[in-house]
């Protein structure tokens, strides 16, 4: 878990550079709130304390990175409550939850506070203290049927409106490659997810590179979909999971009301995980056929 925190450092730095110090404030508050809720719940239910395993901190940070920069603090804290209590502890705590807690927190916020959760500001990169200018995300602009006036380079560096941690693809790739190199995560889910997004968006006649660089797919692919607890255990299962996430993401982007579908697609695939596991049991060496 500590390694996941380390891997998210570039994304945190990028979020501060792009959206200012309020980004850091949200991130710190979410991490603290998640740890606090975990502590209180475990004390209240007399469970073993798990706050030192860093899992609550990871949940808090990933949730914060999935929030818009201007979200009121109390709403963010409410999201943490939903993530830790609803998404994790009520199912039995670490290892028992069926869905990624950070994704649960984000979706609860998105549905409960639709407007603040979709109010975006344009980046004020390297321009600390200046007023934030509101504006839409590139996917939002596209949804409204307008053309997006951003280069791939700007999108890659994250100079666009969006959630705190989703915009800077460079920072996310650094973190993701770190996790893969340290063998913390298997590359199968992120590679399958991103490749599917690329292919599926091309099938719908959309610009595949644009689809990869915008929205939350890269953040989701490396840091949410790879959650051990809520993704399949076998390599074949992971491949199916990644492809499923990619297909659902593009279907939501193309056909649904929401401009972005990464969170929903990961949640839906989380729900399918036990079934994928059951269908992709490993074939033991020398095992006789049933």
């Amino acid at each position: 878990m500590q390694n996941v925190l380390i891997a998210l450092v570039p994304a945190v730095v990028a979020s501060v550079l792009i959206f200012g110090f309020r980004a850091l404030l949200l991130e710190v508050i979410c991490m603290a709130a998640c740890v606090l809720f975990e502590f209180l719940f475990e004390k209240a239910t007399k469970r073993d304390l798990t706050i030192y395993d860093c899992s609550a901190m990871v949940t808090g940070l990933i949730l914060a990175l999935n929030l818009p920069p201007t979200l009121p603090i109390w709403m963010a804290v409410f999201g943490c409550l939903a993530a830790i209590v609803l998404g994790k502890q009520l199912f039995g705590g670490i290892g028992m939850n069926f869905a990624n807690p950070a994704i649960v927190g984000r979706i609860v916020l998105l549905i409960a506070f639709a407007q603040p959760m979709t109010t975006w500001v344009l980046p004020n990169a390297f321009n600390f203290g200046a007023d934030l200018v509101s504006g839409a995300t590139p996917l939002g602009v596209l949804k409204m049927g307008e053309a997006v006036d951003l280069s791939y380079g700007q999108l890659f560096l994250g100079l666009r409106g969006g959630c705190l941690g989703e915009t800077c693809i460079l920072a996310l790739l650094i973190g993701g490659i770190y996790l893969i190199a340290k063998k913390i995560i298997s590359p199968i889910i992120p590679v399958a997810y991103l490749a599917t997004v690329f292919v599926a968006s091309a099938c719908f006649g959309r610009d595949p590179i644009f689809e990869l660089l915008t929205g939350g797919v890269v953040l989701g692919a490396f840091f949410c979909a790879t959650d051990y607890v809520t993704s399949p255990v076998t390599n074949k299962g992971k491949l199916i999971f990644g492809i499923g996430c990619g297909v659902l993401t593009i279907l939501i982007r193309v056909f649904a009301n929401y401009p972005e579908g990464a969170s929903f697609s990961i949640l839906l695939m989380n729900i399918l995980t036990p079934h994928i596991d059951a269908l992709t049991m490993s074939k033991p060496f020398g095992g006789a056929k049933e």
Binding site: T50, D53, G93, I94, G95, M96, S186, Y228, V229, S231, V233, T234, D277, M281, S282, K283, P284, F285, G286, G287, A288, E290
Partner: protein, 434 residues
């Protein structure tokens, strides 16, 4: 093995082969030996001496009661002072014959090199020698050498992997007793009519590889095959796959795919026995661990208590907190050091507090490391869930019966869950349900 076959997985464990350069030292005869009647896989032996009997070296003290068994001989000359009971590491009670040694080591009159001309005589001689698999499992060798389909067996695989950390006893056998190893191989190949032999040896034993390659250079049918040093390379099915490419399937024996596997120390014993007729009364083992003053490779008599063996190695230099019979991956922790040496022990390791992992067990986070580490691609985390739910059907589906209990899953588990233990319990649950 064909280069196109993918190797089985496993774990890279630190080798700690501290004693690999240390010559085998023969331990003097202890004051007393304790001969347990269950020193092998299969039925225990029946005691065939009485308290007060005078016994000689090599005299039968435990008579096999079933086909799957191997006789037990006295390792000393002296007097039977007691017939007690001992609780084995498996939790079963078994009789133990206590013999006070007169230290003269007088050989029993019956001992003479066996006269062997046929396959049947060879197998009978091996049966009388009391030989069991010395690598650890203790499978009676005369049964292994006598498969149902002798004509289909074309390869003898010598298990010289010694993949457990710390243990170097086999390495010393390969280096110091290479003539016995090659002699045993030739005798076995001759009488069992086996065409080829592959000596599978982990590449962390360069000296033994060099010596054995040199000694077998005029034997086109005996091949020394260096293998990657990855645990559990010496698992029988793993070794057969990595040396011959053959897969021993569920419910099959190695002979079903034309292979007989023998440990390197067992095969060296075959040669010694053919020349002297002295049955299996001693064992070469590694004594190591950070609690032992002078780690060594020791040849000790069967039935010597571990405390005597450790005292021969300078005693303890620090308080031992865990004593293992065997290696750290598959060895069994014993309650105290008065336990006697068995035929299939290849090490005794004594560790201090500093070497023991006492981190607490935490919930499974489904990281799948256990699945990736398992050489047979079993799913230990899922097996644990099925076991806890008492779901026998699911355990059957997950093929827990294939588990060789190598311990890779427990070793890699970041949550420190006792996965291999649960696999063992699950196998019992499956057996009980039949």
């Amino acid at each position: 093995m064909s280069k196109y076959n993918k190797s089985l997985s496993g774990v890279s464990v630190p080798h700690h082969k501290n004693t690999s350069e240390m010559k085998i030292e023969t331990m003097p005869v202890p004051d007393k030996v304790y001969l347990g009647m269950s020193q092998h896989m299969g039925a225990p032996c029946e005691v065939c001496v009485k308290v007060g009997d005078e016994v000689k070296v090599g005299q039968l003290v435990g008579k096999p009661t079933a086909f799957m068994s191997a006789p037990i001989h006295s390792s000393v000359s002296g007097k039977v002072t007691a017939i007690d009971e001992i609780i084995m590491s498996s939790g079963m009670k078994t009789p133990v014959v206590v013999i006070e040694a007169d230290k003269l080591q007088t050989l029993d009159e019956s001992i003479a090199p066996p006269v062997v001309n046929t396959r049947e005589e060879f197998i009978e001689a091996i049966k009388q020698s009391g030989l069991v698999g010395l690598g650890g499992a203790g499978f009676p060798t005369h049964i292994k050498f006598n498969p149902k389909n002798p004509d289909q067996v074309d390869t003898l695989v010598i298990n010289f992997a010694e993949c457990e950390p710390y243990i170097t006893a086999d390495n010393r056998v390969g280096v110091e007793q290479a003539d016995h190893v090659v002699g045993g191989i030739k005798t076995t190949m001759h009488f069992l009519n086996i065409k080829n032999c592959i000596i599978g040896v982990e590449d962390n034993k360069p000296e033994a590889i060099r010596i054995l390659t040199e000694k077998t250079k005029d034997e086109p049918n005996i091949k020394v095959q260096p293998l990657k040093a990855i645990y559990p390379q010496g698992g029988e099915k793993v070794l057969i796959y990595h040396t011959t490419g053959r897969v021993v399937g569920e419910g099959q024996l190695p002979a079903d795919v034309g292979v007989i596997v023998s440990n390197v120390a067992s095969i060296a014993f075959v040669d010694k026995y053919m020349k002297t007729g002295i049955p299996l009364i001693s064992k070469i083992l590694t004594v190591d661990g950070d609690a032992v003053a002078n780690p060594k490779n020791v040849e000790a008599l069967i039935g010597t208590r571990f405390v005597d063996i450790i005292n021969f190695c300078g005693g303890y230099k620090a308080e031992p907190r865990k004593i293992l019979m065997g290696g750290p991956m598959m060895g069994i922790a014993i309650p105290d050091d008065t336990y006697p040496l068995l035929k299939n022990n290849n090490a005794v390791l004594a560790f201090t507090e500093a070497q023991i992992d006492t981190r607490p067990e935490t919930p499974c986070i489904r990281c799948a490391r256990c699945i990736n580490a398992c050489p047979f691609q079993l799913m230990p985390a899922s097996i644990e869930k099925a076991y806890n739910a008492g779901n026998v059907d699911q355990l059957k589906k997950l093929k827990v019966n294939l588990c060789m209990e190598c311990g890779c899953c427990s070793y890699v588990c970041p949550a420190k869950r006792p996965l291999v233990l649960v696999n063992r319990l699950s196998k019992n649950m499956l057996r009980a349900s039949k």
